[in-house]
């Protein structure tokens, strides 16, 4: 009995000895990156979802920790792993040298893939695809991409907001991305255009799909695509909320606490949309299945009657 215990301890200790250097190395490698990410992006509103995504991803890895504690026979896969590790580390060094933070953050995904391949193999990698994929949402969007998409989105959002409020007889006028209501002029800022909110909502939507473990491919794909119009609508609602708050309570209230509140309104509406769309899709699918079953049944009875 005692012998067994100590053997188990030795076994566990060995596992710790293997994993401790790898985890410590990763922490050392990416701490400076995350500090910079925090200073440049996370402390601003636009990429506010970053830390949340990191915590969720770490939690998802932690949930699957037993995968790492099993012994596996690995053949051939670690060569691929080692080469990927070397290439990724070179990219990491170049990215740091040239201050390309986007690449520096993004390269952590291939580094993790390489380490999983080396230590645990392809089968484990397959079971960890979601947390690895989820880490994409930590990567800050490159400035050029943001610039290219932001403007058309801002114009579209301002346009719809103007149309809606005009139909409700509010004294609203629009000039490009500047909305004028009553005495107030509001600039639909980059943050309001919601490129980053689309990004974080996409993250939340995909996490939701993962958590409820939807096995239907149709529902997964349609919801992933519907997230874009959903976040557009949610953004319109947020800007409308802000415009009305400013109209009724003044500029200071609109820019102060309630500005943050409007952000919560955005996330709230979007989440409700996502969940109700999913329920709708689920019902639709069920109906289709029933119809199919009924048709099959009638066909069968037709055959019977002959």
């Amino acid at each position: 009995m005692r012998l067994n215990m100590s053997r188990l301890d030795v076994y566990k200790n060995k596992k710790v000895l293997i994993w401790l250097p790898i985890i410590a190395g990763l922490i050392f490698l990416f701490t400076p990156t995350y500090i910079e990410l925090y200073h440049i992006f996370w402390s601003k509103d636009e990429q506010g979802h970053g830390p949340l995504v990191l915590v969720i991803a770490l939690f998802l890895f932690w949930q699957k920790k037993e995968l790492f504690l099993k012994d596996r026979e690995l053949t051939g896969q670690s060569t691929l792993g080692w080469s990927l590790l070397f290439i990724s580390l070179i990219v990491y060094i170049l990215a740091k040298w040239q201050y390309i933070l986007v690449a520096e953050v993004a390269v952590q995904i291939p580094i993790l893939i390489a380490l999983i391949l080396i230590t645990s193999g392809y089968s484990v990698l397959k079971r960890l695809w979601f947390p690895l994929f989820f880490l994409i949402f930590i990567v800050p969007l490159p400035g050029s991409v943001v610039d290219a998409i932001t403007m058309p989105m801002k114009i579209a959002v301002s346009n719809v907001v103007e149309m809606v409020l005009y139909n409700f007889d509010y004294p609203i006028a629009r000039d490009g991305v500047i909305l004028q209501i009553g005495y107030y002029k509001l600039l639909v800022a980059d943050a309001c255009a919601g490129l980053h909110t689309v990004f974080s909502l996409e993250a939340m939507g995909l996490l939701y799909l993962h958590l409820v473990k939807r096995d239907s491919f149709l529902r997964n794909v349609s919801l992933a695509m519907l997230i874009i119009p959903i976040s557009f609508v949610a953004n319109v609602i947020r800007v409308i909320a802000l415009v009305l708050i400013t109209y009724y309570y003044g500029d200071e209230v609109g820019q102060g606490f309630l500005h943050e509140f409007a952000g919560f309104v955005l996330y709230g509406t979007a989440l409700i949309f996502i969940i109700s769309t999913d329920i709708f899709l689920q019902k639709l699918e069920l109906k289709l299945a029933q119809k199919k079953a009924r048709r099959a049944a009638t066909e069968e009875s037709d055959i019977d009657s002959f």
Partner: protein, 226 residues
Amino acid sequence: MTVFKSSLIFFLLIGSLIFSEFIRPVPNSVDVQDFPSLESSIPISFEGWHSINQGLPQIVDPQAEKSLDAIYSQTLSRIYVDKQQEKIILSLAYGPNQTEPLRVHKPEVCYPAQGFNIESNEVGQLEVAGQEIPVKFLKGVSSDYTEFVTYWIVVGGVAVATDLGFKLQQFKFSLDGKIPDGLLFRVSSHGQDAKAEYQKQKRFVNDLINNVDLETRKILLGEYSR
């Protein structure tokens, strides 16, 4: 998997970190600057131009202002009027570190963010005090308001107009383990006739450069520009 292999991974990761930190250029300090004050080195009046205080109605975006503080250590924005009441807006912005996230904002990006539509965007040359400076000419339109812009960026002491020139300069500095500083020089005016506005801007820039000291001139035009 052995302890030996995992230790090897540890040293690879740590080695990459140390090596990258070693070759990574050190950012220039923002506080300890021997960079002169733009406010005091740009004259208030010269050759008939005079800076007036009241500006055009500007839309203030507190969010934008917060992030501008992180990028620029100095900004200057003045409206000059000459004897014929011709107006020119001069905007200078100096940032000590031209890394990708902290680089000076290009007017092509700033103007649309303020509701302007960039209708034309051309690379060209501007003759300033006997030097050819690479510049960009922009035409921004916001409903019935048209603004013409001439601008260039002095990055690491060299005037550039294009993104490629900017990146090349960044890369050259990184080979020496340095990060270049950057100054955005932008003049703009409201009008209808592109030729007349650009001509007026050229006159203004030349008048300004001829009335600053040598050091300021180097800062504004770049030391090595031809």
